[in-house]
Amino acid sequence: MYQYNRKGPKRGVALYSYSAEFGLTKTLEDCFEDVHDMGAHGIEILANTHIENYPYPTDEWVDKWFRLCDKYEVVPVEYGNWIDSHVLGCRDLTTEESYEMLARDIRLAHRLGFTVMRTKMPVISDLLEPVTNWREIIRMALPLAEKLGIQMCPEIHTPSNLKGKMVTDFVDFIKETGTKNFGLNIDFSVFRTEFGENDFKDPHFTPNRPEDIIPLLPYIYCCHAKFIHMSDEFEETTIPYKEVIQVLKDNNWDGYLLSEYEGADKYEAGYEVGQTLRKQHIMLKNYIGD
């Protein structure tokens, strides 16, 4: 299997970015080739989107998956999954049922060579607080995750704050259990300082300063390099990228920055998100120095 041994922040792409094109004008292989064109070596997939016949892919498909990784020099970095406790309309899944869903994804992530999972928690409020039994579900899954070398990471995304209760609760859980198999994925939307006139700004949102990430670094197994607007000079105009990457480098953080573009304009006819991703990768390449 292909390996990329560079230390420090590394470039990758979350295939979520292709959501307006995948299955219509782009195949999985097209996405891999586009990532390869950018010189990026990491990939994040969404299990429920990119795995054919999810959650039970054939061995043939898994072989094809590893062939794509080798051919395009791509490391399977992050496996996006959901604990869909609210999947039934009439009742929530029990802790045991939620665990079964999570365990199925842990096994599949491992089968595809992933080491990190973006584990999306089901929410119970407008503040996106996770279900009250999240600790029980995760605790139940820790032995399997440890056995298979998987780190489950909820994503910390705007309007959440790195100093907020949700992050504190996750960090407390990590300290209490002493686990290395549960951590965080920080989405760079938490650092966003600039908003255009027509941009939605959540009233609960306060931007973090780049250095706010430092105390969390031991628990961060990858980041979502969210970007909102790339200028034609290849600068991100809403998030202080240069400073954020400098903090990561100065503190010897080692992991992947997975580009994620969620602008609604990507659904416009003829839009090629690959071109938008390339603009960001010119910037990332400059700041990372790879």
Binding site: Y16, S19, A20, F22, G23, L24, L46, N48, T49, E52, N53, Y54, P55, W82, I83, D84, S85, H86, V87, L88, G89, C90, L93, K120, M121, P122, V123, I124, S125, D126, L128, E262, A264, Y267
Partner: protein, 146 residues
């Protein structure tokens, strides 16, 4: 697969033993991830104004037929974004040759969205705020039957 949710390919009458017993059409899932069947909130189908209730529509996913009642509790069968579902409707004699105006509403739940958004989901009317990655609830298309 076509960008339109209601696909032009797959719209035809259903024949059983030389009798036309109904019609079928294909729809794709306009979401960025696949869903389990219990996440579906199927709505009402109108063909030239004729109304077909959600209970009258059979969904075929990966070659298997599912009724509305069966889908409600099925959180193991997964509908992929890359494979359209086939919707089958019983109608003696099927649809007449020529154009048909199709209107079909459906939507789906997401565990990571705030409960207030989930509780007010209505497949037969649009969300308060349109989010392209969730698609439209109500889809329309004018297609030909031969």
């Amino acid at each position: 697969m076509e960008k339109e949710v209601i696909q032009s390919v797959g719209f035809r009458n259903i024949k059983e033993d030389d009798n036309v017993t109904g019609f079928q059409m294909k729809i794709r899932l306009p979401y960025y991830r696949g869903i389990f069947l219990s996440q579906l909130r199927p709505g009402t189908l109108f063909v030239d104004g004729e109304r077909f209730e959600k209970e009258e529509i059979i969904w075929n996913i990966k070659g298997e037929d599912y009724t509305y009642e069966e889908m409600k509790s099925d959180f193991h069968t997964h509908w992929a974004v890359t494979t359209p579902a086939v919707l089958k409707v019983k109608k003696e004699g099927g649809l007449a040759q020529g154009y048909h105006d199709i209107t079909y509403g459906f939507c789906f739940t997401s565990s990571y969205m705030p409960p207030i958004v989930q509780d007010t989901l209505d497949p037969d009317s649009e969300s308060m705020i349109f989010m392209p990655e969730f698609g439209h609830h109500v889809n329309k298309r004018r297609l030909l039957i031969v």
